[in-house]
C-alpha cells in the first residue's frame, strides 16, 4: 500500500458494470465458500500496546470459555452439518490450533477443507510489528500448516483483522495468492503489491456470523434469512458475471444449539438451488487467476487511460 497517503492504493476503481465476464465452472452463477474460523484464543496473552485482548482482567471467563466452546462442541456440530450438505470449509486458522487441538485440524483436513492463515493466535495482533516480526508470523504460518496438514496456504486473513502497511506486499512475496482482508467488491479483484500476484477474495463482514449476532443482534432465524437473501441476490447478478458469496463462521456462534438448525436450512437451500459453485477459496482464486485476472487488469488499465 501507499503508506501515509490518503488513498492507500490497494486496487483500481472498477465500477460494477462493463467488467469482463467472470465464468465459473459448469455455468454456475455464484461461487459460494464457507469459511469457518478455527481459532485458539489464549487465556493470558502477552499484551500488545495497540490493542487489548480481553475486556476483563484475565481470566475473562466468559470471553475465553465462549471461544473454547468452539473446539469442544461447536466445530463438530457445524462441520457435520456442512459435510451433510456438501459444503467444504475454507479455514481461517489460528495456526497454533495445530499444536493445541490437533484433533480439530485433522478433522477439517480429513473433510477436504482448505486452510489459510489467520495468524498464530487470535490473541496476537500484527499492530506494531516490524518487518522481521511480520515475516516470522508468515513463515510460521506456512511451516505450521504444512507440517500439520500437508497443505501450502494460499490465503491470509490477518489475525483478529490486524494489519500493517506491509502485510499485503509480504504475503504476495511469500507466494500467497489471495487476501480476505478487503471488503470493496463482490468479485475477486487484482490487488496492487510490490511483487507477485495477489487478489482480493470477497469475504464478508456484513454476513459474518459475528456481525449477524453481535453487531446486528439478529435472531438465528433472521440471520438465516439474511444469508438466503444475500445468496439469492448474488446468484441473480451472477447471470451477468460470476459473483462470490462467502459465509464466514465461528463455531462458538453458529454451532450453538439455537442457531445450527436455522443455519442448516440455509445450506440446504443453497445446495438444492443449483446455481452455486460450492467450493473453496483457493479454488476460486486459482480459477480466477487462470481465467479473469489478466483481462480484468487490462480492462482496469484501459479504463484508467479513458479517464485520462
Amino acid at each position: 500500500m501507499r503508506e501515509g497517503e490518503k488513498d492507500p492504493g490497494l486496487y483500481d476503481f472498477l465500477p460494477y458494470r462493463g467488467r469482463p465476464k467472470i465464468e465459473w465452472p459448469d455455468g454456475k452463477k455464484v461461487a459460494v465458500w464457507v469459511s469457518p474460523n478455527l481459532e485458539f484464543y489464549e487465556i493470558d496473552p502477552a499484551p500488545n500496546p495497540h490493542r487489548k485482548s480481553w475486556a476483563k482482567p484475565h481470566p475473562d471467563v466468559v470471553g475465553y470459555a465462549h471461544r473454547d466452546y468452539a473446539n469442544r462442541v461447536g466445530h463438530w456440530r457445524m462441520a457435520d452439518v456442512m459435510s451433510k450438505h456438501g459444503f467444504p470449509g475454507s479455514v481461517s486458522l489460528s495456526v497454533a490450533l495445530c499444536q493445541h487441538v490437533p484433533d480439530v485440524v485433522e478433522d477439517a483436513n480429513a473433510r477436504g477443507w482448505e486452510f489459510f492463515s489467520h495468524g498464530i493466535y487470535n490473541t496476537r495482533y500484527s499492530y506494531g510489528m516490524d518487518e522481521a516480526q511480520e515475516r516470522a508470523i508468515i513463515e510460521d504460518s506456512i511451516r505450521t500448516v504444512r507440517d500439520a496438514t500437508g497443505q501450502t496456504i494460499k490465503g491470509w486473513l490477518a489475525p483478529a483483522l490486524t494489519h500493517t502497511p506491509r502485510t499485503l506486499d509480504l504475503i504476495a512475496e511469500y507466494g500467497l495468492s489471495y487476501t480476505c482482508d478487503l471488503y470493496h467488491d463482490d468479485q475477486p479483484t487484482p490487488i496492487h503489491v510490490a511483487n507477485g500476484k495477489l487478489i482480493s477474495m470477497p469475504y464478508s463482514l456484513e454476513v459474518n456470523d459475528h456481525y449477524g449476532f453481535f453487531v446486528y443482534n439478529m435472531s438465528p432465524r433472521d440471520y438465516a434469512d439474511t444469508l438466503i437473501r444475500q445468496y439469492e441476490r448474488l446468484a441473480a447478478e451472477g447471470d451477468e458475471s460470476g459473483t462470490v458469496m462467502c459465509i464466514p463462521l465461528h463455531s462458538y456462534l453458529i454451532g450453538q444449539p439455537h442457531r445450527i438448525g436455522p443455519f442448516e436450512e440455509v445450506l440446504r437451500h443453497i445446495a438444492q438451488d443449483g446455481r452455486a459453485w460450492i467450493t473453496r477459496s483457493g479454488d476460486i482464486a486459482d480459477h480466477f487467476i487462470g481465467q479473469g485476472y489478466d483481462r480484468l487488469l487490462a480492462d482496469a488499465a484501459h479504463q484508467s487511460e479513458d479517464a485520462q
Binding site: 500496546p49 469442544r72 510489528m129 436455522p262
Partner: protein
C-alpha cells in the same frame, strides 16, 4: 516500530489447553450420558435472585443490571426489586404448573432480607445455588484472596442459615472469576460451579485443592443475552429455545443425553408481557417425550 520480542514467543504452544484447569475434550467423543429416567434432554432452569444495593460498587466491576443513573437510582433499584417481589413468584407458579424443579442462584443478602422468599423456594423443592453476597460482591483478578474467600464463605453461610442446608453449587456474578476462584470454591466445600460456558455437559476441573465439577450455564441462551442485550422479543426467545431443544433432542439419539440450560432473570422474564412466553415454553417442553427438568445439582451429581 517493533514489538517486544516476547510478543512472538509462545510459551504455552503445545498440545492441550494453555492452562491447567481442565483438559480439552470433544463433546461428541465421550461415553453417552444417561439421565435419570433415561431422558434424552435434561432442561435445567436456573433463576438468578439478586439484590442490588442502591449504593453500587465498581470494585472490581459493576455487576450487569446494577444502578445506572446518578445516586439515588430509584428506577433501577426498584425495577430489580420488582423481579424479586413479583416476577419471581410468576416464575415459581410457571414452574409449579409443569412440575419442574429449578435451581435458584441466590445472593446471600436475599436470604437475610427476605427469609419468607427462601422458605417458598425450599418448600417448592427447588435447589439453592450460592450466588455471592449481594450484587456489589463481584469477583475478578485483582481482588484480594481473603476478600474473595469471604464473599464465597459468607454467601454459603447466609444461605445455610436461612435454609438449613449448605449449597452445593456456585454461580459468580457475571460468571466472572479470578485465577483463585475454582480453588477457593473447592476449599470452601463447593461441589460444582456454573461459570464456564465452554461445553454443553458437566465436566471436571482440577485445582491444587482438589476437583470441582463445572456445569455449563450457556450465557447465549439466557434471557439477559437474548432479550436485554440482543433486544429480541419474548416470543423470539421462546422460538430460539424451542429450536435448541429440537436440535439437542435429535442429537441425543446418536450421542447420548444432552442438556439445555435456561438462565432466567425475574426482572427480565417475569414481566407481565413476557411471562406468558415463558409459560408457553415450559408447557411445550414439559409435553415432550424424553425430556426431564433436572436441577444443576442433579446434573452435576452433587445433590
Amino acid at each position: 516500530m517493533s514489538l517486544d520480542p516476547a510478543y512472538l514467543a509462545y510459551p504455552h504452544r503445545a498440545e492441550g489447553m494453555d492452562h491447567d484447569l481442565y483438559h480439552w475434550s470433544n463433546l461428541f467423543d465421550r461415553p453417552p450420558i444417561v439421565w435419570p429416567g433415561e431422558a434424552k434432554l435434561a432442561v435445567s432452569v436456573v433463576i438468578s435472585l439478586e439484590w442490588f444495593p442502591i449504593t453500587a460498587s465498581d470494585k472490581p466491576f459493576r455487576a450487569p443490571g446494577h444502578m445506572q443513573t446518578a445516586y439515588p437510582d430509584y428506577r433501577h433499584y426498584t425495577s430489580r426489586e420488582y423481579g424479586t417481589r413479583i416476577g419471581f413468584y410468576r416464575m415459581l407458579d410457571a414452574l409449579a404448573a409443569v412440575g419442574a424443579k429449578a435451581s435458584v442462584a441466590v445472593n446471600g443478602a436475599i436470604a437475610e432480607r427476605y427469609p419468607a422468599l427462601l422458605r417458598d423456594i425450599v418448600a417448592a423443592g427447588h435447589e439453592i445455588v450460592a450466588h455471592a453476597t449481594d450484587m456489589n460482591a463481584t469477583i475478578a483478578t485483582g481482588i484480594a484472596e481473603e476478600e474473595e474467600r469471604a464473599i464465597i464463605r459468607s454467601s454459603l453461610d447466609m444461605l445455610e442459615k436461612a435454609t438449613g442446608r449448605r449449597p452445593a453449587g456456585w454461580l459468580s456474578i457475571a460468571r466472572s472469576q479470578s485465577w483463585n476462584t475454582p480453588r477457593l470454591l473447592v476449599e470452601e466445600g463447593v461441589c460444582y460451579m456454573l461459570d464456564w460456558v465452554n461445553d454443553e455437559l458437566p465436566y471436571r476441573m482440577t485445582t491444587v485443592a482438589g476437583g470441582i465439577v463445572n456445569v455449563p450455564l450457556n450465557h447465549e441462551l439466557s434471557d439477559r443475552q437474548i432479550i436485554t442485550t440482543q433486544q429480541h422479543s419474548a416470543d423470539s426467545y421462546r422460538v430460539q429455545i424451542e429450536d435448541a431443544a429440537d436440535w439437542l433432542m435429535t442429537e441425543a439419539v446418536g450421542y447420548g443425553g444432552r442438556m439445555l440450560p435456561l438462565h432466567l432473570t425475574p426482572y427480565i422474564m417475569g414481566l407481565p408481557y413476557r411471562i406468558g412466553a415463558l409459560e408457553t415454553l415450559l408447557q411445550g417442553l414439559a409435553g415432550r417425550e424424553g425430556l426431564s427438568f433436572l436441577t444443576t445439582g442433579d446434573i452435576a451429581g452433587c445433590i
